[in-house]
């Protein structure tokens, strides 16, 4: 058990190291990315620029700069942004984390709920009109880019029909902390939740349907029927339980990636300043310290979610328990 944990930690460190080096190199390979002139201000004299370079260590060799930045990030924890000078990046990341968590968790509840419902219906009414309609809708859900859906949602709820009874309850774009107002938090998030969920509902419904259909071919389903169980019982207690295993794996990975900042398009269009938004801003402004902080945060989550999924696998699939 302990050796497994240590192995995972080493794995995580290797991943983080690789990613941070890659980000670092890409940044400095981008022409014009050197922040000294931008930090110094427009039309700064060469001396001013030189002084800024010395202050930020930008005249040191790359490996040294990398080492210094990693030290500031992890050890002394005072790594500051290149763009918003003086702003510590790590506290900003942690301030943004609950926003992303709120967005992603709510969306996850919605998408799992709907995906299971649609997948079950489609598998139960396989090859009928219901099935085909549901699968076409799912495909549409997958095909619509999330930033387009989000913009359309805004167009309707904030723009065209904002003053109608349908959408007058929709608050201005942005996040309302739960502590400030639980109802406000909910109202501000409900449309972003559905927007983010649409893609995943489509995907998961299709995956679940396929998994269910495959599972229904298994021998134990025939045994279950031979026991006198109704089709609904067979579907829900025997087929779904087995088919969900694949879904859970998928979910763990998707959730981890989203919490780490993968929902950035949704966050940007809805003005929710979570991790994805921070990442987006950092990339836009080429703010290397913030890029490193958000990318490493995301990597940590992805690696962690991989580990959690592996553990979860053992919990839900009894067959996997010995193989650990």
């Amino acid at each position: 058990m302990l050796s497994a944990i240590i192995r995972r930690l080493i794995h995580m460190i290797a991943v983080l190291f690789g990613i941070s080096v890659l980000v670092f190199l890409i940044f400095f390979a981008t022409p014009g990315a050197n922040p000294a002139a931008r930090i110094a201000g427009r039309n700064a004299s060469p001396q001013t620029i030189a002084r800024v370079e010395r202050q930020f260590g930008l005249n040191k060799p790359l490996p040294v700069q990398y080492g210094l930045m990693m030290k500031k990030l992890f050890i002394t924890q005072n790594l500051t942004s290149f763009v918003n000078l003086g702003e510590k990046v790590v506290p900003q990341v942690f301030r943004a984390a609950p926003i992303t968590l709120s967005l992603v968790t709510g969306a996850a509840v919605i998408w799992i709920g709907f995906a299971v419902l649609i997948g079950l219906l489609a598998a139960a009414f396989r090859d009928t009109l219901i099935d085909r309609i549901l699968m076409i809708l799912s495909l549409i859900g997958i095909s619509m880019p999330v930033f387009w859906v989000a913009t359309m949602a805004n167009l309707i709820t904030q723009g065209q029909f904002h003053h109608s009874w349908l959408f007058s309850w929709v608050p201005p774009l942005g996040y309302v902390p739960f502590n400030t107002s639980p109802l406000g938090w909910f109202k501000a998030l409900i449309i972003p939740w559905f927007t983010l969920a649409i893609l995943y509902i489509g995907l998961y419904a299709r995956v679940l349907r396929a998994a269910l259909i495959e599972t229904m071919q298994e021998d134990y389903i025939r045994t279950a029927r031979a026991k006198g169980l109704s089709e609904r019982q067979v579907l829900m207690h025997h087929a779904l339980r087995s088919a969900m295993i694949g879904i859970v794996t998928l979910f763990g990975l998707d959730f981890g990636a989203l919490v780490g900042g993968g929902a950035l398009l949704t966050e940007v269009v809805f003005g929710l300043q979570g991790i994805g938004y921070l990442t987006y801003q950092a990339l836009e402004t080429l703010d290397l310290p913030m890029i490193l902080a958000t990318v490493i945060y995301a990597s940590v989550f992805v690696v962690m979610s991989n580990a959690v999924v592996d553990i979860l696998y053992a919990v839900i699939d009894p067959r996997a328990r010995q193989a650990r």
Partner: protein, 334 residues
């Protein structure tokens, strides 16, 4: 034997499949009776239609293109065409079924205890505690060691033999009058096979159920069956009580089957295989289905399918009884 005594009465059962090429008959006009507390064996090679026959009793053929015709009467109730709720109340309750492969027969994500309890509570109004106790009793009755620990196990944690016992326990949980067993020992190794067969034999005594036992292994039939039906290409070609069948086989196919059985005593002979293969289901010959492979075929065999002749026991062959005996003694071709 009269209908009123039979527990299960199958008449002219045919199972056909709609395909692009037309209608394929996999089971063609099968008729037999099973008496209470009787072990009825059905033997035949793969593709003879034996599994489909018993699957159609419980309407468990999962193919939307299947057509089942004929009559299956169980305790006076017609099963062919019976509505789904009726079938559900019979399945696992009055008629139970166990399948060939214990590895895949149980749902891998539920404990065996939970799966047995599920069946019990489906058909009986028992409290959770009572159902739990019954489940433990069943596990004990089928010879599973330490039921109080084993019921928590998942199917993959048990050996093949234990799994099959658990499957049997589950099937018997509601005291079915009829148990359908589709090759219950085929997937097990030989020593375990013997134990399961013993168990099956005991079940008739302990639980009072009739059993239809499907196998391609004549040795199994010899061990446990009271009555045997031999199926070939979807039809029953011979039916007798076990002693009669082995003493006095009357159909050339049965002769072939018996000839291909290794004998423990006597000189070691080369096993005789019946040359050729059964006909493809969509290309059944107009006459006797076995005619292409029959050593003793004559012209009349190829025109019409021979009906089941009564004496000494039902056999579908036009060879006269007296001829049969002499033909039987001829050495078969190697």
């Amino acid at each position: 034997m009269s209908d009123s005594q039979a527990l299960l009465s199958v008449r002219d059962l045919s199972v056909s499949f709609r395909t692009r090429g037309g209608l394929i008959r996999a089971v063609d006009g099968v008729s037999f009776d099973v008496l209470p507390q009787q072990i009825f064996g059905i033997v035949g090679e793969s593709g003879s239609g034996k599994s489909l026959t018993i699957l159609s009793i419980l309407n468990l053929i999962g193919d939307p293109n299947v057509i089942i015709a004929g009559s299956i009467r169980f305790a006076g109730q017609e099963l062919v065409g019976a509505p789904a709720p009726v079938m559900r109340s019979i399945r696992g309750n009055k008629i139970a079924m166990i399948f060939q492969d214990p590895m895949t027969a149980l749902t891998p994500v539920h404990t065996i205890g939970a799966q047995i309890i599920e069946q019990i509570r489906q058909h009986r109004q028992l409290s959770a505690a009572a159902a739990h106790q019954r489940m433990l009793d069943l596990l004990d009755a089928v010879g599973i060691p330490d039921p109080r620990q084993t019921f928590r196990r998942y199917p993959h944690e048990l050996s093949g033999g234990q799994r099959q016992r658990a499957v049997i326990a589950m099937a018997l949980s509601c005291d079915p009058a009829l148990l359908l067993a589709d090759e219950p020992t085929t997937a097990l190794d030989v020593t375990v096979q013997a134990q399961i067969l013993d168990l099956i034999r005991d079940l008739r005594i302990k639980f009072g159920s009739s059993i239809i036992l499907i196998t391609h292994n004549l040795g199994v039939v010899a061990e446990v069956a009271d009555q045997v039906a031999v199926m070939y290409s979807g039809r029953i070609v011979e039916q007798a009580n076990t002693a009669d069948l082995f003493a006095n086989p009357s159909h050339p196919y049965s002769w072939g089957l018996l000839g291909s059985m290794p004998v423990l005593d006597g000189p070691r002979k080369r096993l005789a295989a019946i040359p050729g293969l059964p006909p493809a289901l969509d290309h059944r010959p107009p006459g006797c289905a076995f005619a292409p492979r029959c050593h003793f075929v004559r012209a009349a065999c190829e025109t019409t399918p021979p009906p089941l002749r009564a004496a000494p026991h039902p056999v579908a062959c036009i060879i006269d009884e007296h001829e049969r005996t002499s033909l039987r003694m001829e050495p078969l071709e190697q």
